[in-house]
């Protein structure tokens, strides 16, 4: 089950915790992976640790031209057409709306919503022609629930869901699926520094009684990337320990 042997996947934001876990699991299922991000050294380190079938493609997704060119760059690096696109790269610029600068808003929308569109548009051209493909974007529970201090991020993540449903309808007749994975609270270096009391309160709101880990998210991506998920499209798979049942 869930074999990805012979498939080529591009993972953006692969130098981050969740992105690296996604890349590792796709690779473990047999896929050739192209790791993208801004930090070349970190990407190369991950590629080296994976060994064969791992390539890197450095790109800064806040630059529209680099976002537009990344699919071609990844295909050149892998020497094969792209079967799986994982839009994972994202950034936050958290602050209450009344203090939010135009640049806080536009940077988040550019990287978290516009660049996934640019990548999907480029990937779809080949996928539609080949009558196969998987596009999986990482959103967030806050795209559904909202979150104080994250108007920009929540808007981008909700946008990912609407975009993916539209792309799913356009690409469905060609056997290309487009889905979303929406993680809840995931243990990362960022959440490690939370005060114990805050952590406890967070975990108390999760029926499954723990924070998620990056592997929980990666497993969901592997499923949606697999042949077994061939009849699943336009959906959002919530991976949040039951914190928000939507």
């Amino acid at each position: 089950m869930f074999s990805l042997t012979g498939k080529t996947a591009l993972v953006t934001g692969a130098s981050g915790g969740i992105g690296a876990a996604i890349a590792r699991q796709l690779h473990a299922q047999g896929a050739t992976v192209v790791l993208s991000g801004t930090r070349e050294a970190a990407l190369q380190e991950l590629a080296d640790s994976l060994g064969e079938r791992a390539h890197i493609a450095v790109a800064n997704l806040s630059d529209p031209a680099e976002a537009d060119g990344l699919v071609a760059k990844a295909e050149a690096a892998a020497g094969a057409p792209l079967d799986i696109l994982v839009n994972n790269a994202g950034l936050t610029r958290d602050t209450l709306a009344i203090r939010m600068k135009d640049s806080d808003w536009s940077q988040v929308l550019t990287v978290d919503l516009e660049s996934p569109f640019r990548l999907a548009r480029a990937a779809l051209k080949g996928m539609l022609r080949r009558r196969a493909g998987r596009i999986i974007s990482i959103a967030s529970v806050v795209g559904t629930t909202g979150n104080a201090g994250q108007a920009n991020y929540a808007a981008a993540k909700a946008g990912i869901v609407g975009m993916s449903k539209s792309l799913a309808q356009e690409a469905g007749p060609r056997g290309v699926t487009v889905n979303v994975v929406a993680p809840g609270f995931i243990e990362t270096p960022m959440t490690d520094v939370l005060p114990e009391a805050v952590r406890e309160k967070l975990v108390g709101s999760i029926p499954l009684g723990r924070m998620g880990n990056t592997g929980d998210v990666a497993s969901a991506v592997v499923y949606l990337a697999s042949e077994e998920a061939a009849w699943v499209t336009g959906t959002t798979l919530h991976v949040n320990g039951g914190m928000a049942m939507v």
Binding site: L128, R129, E170, P173, R174
Partner: protein, 86 residues
């Protein structure tokens, strides 16, 4: 004039070739009056892909409102010839 005609028939041949390749239809079916959707079995996504293929092959830009009017093989040839002549 002779050169001009030659260029025009080149365009028609190239358009036909692209249609045959993209829609996987027999060349004999790709007549000037053949409708992509009604006669050649294209769906809406096919027609968009065809327009994009024309744009790439002829280095022209076909805006959305013009693309909507390209329903037959002749429509495509006429549009591209007009763009190339301009």
């Amino acid at each position: 004039m002779g050169i001009r005609n030659e260029q025009m028939s080149d365009i028609a041949d190239k358009v036909k070739k692209i249609v045959v390749e993209h829609l996987g239809v027999d060349e004999s079916k790709v007549t000037p009056d053949a409708s992509f959707i009604d006669d050649l079995g294209a769906d809406s996504l096919d027609t968009v892909e065809l327009v994009m293929a024309f744009e790439e092959a002829f280095s022209v830009e076909i805006p959305e409102d013009a693309a909507e009017k390209i329903a037959t093989v002749k429509d495509a040839i006429d549009y591209i010839e007009k763009q190339k002549a301009a």
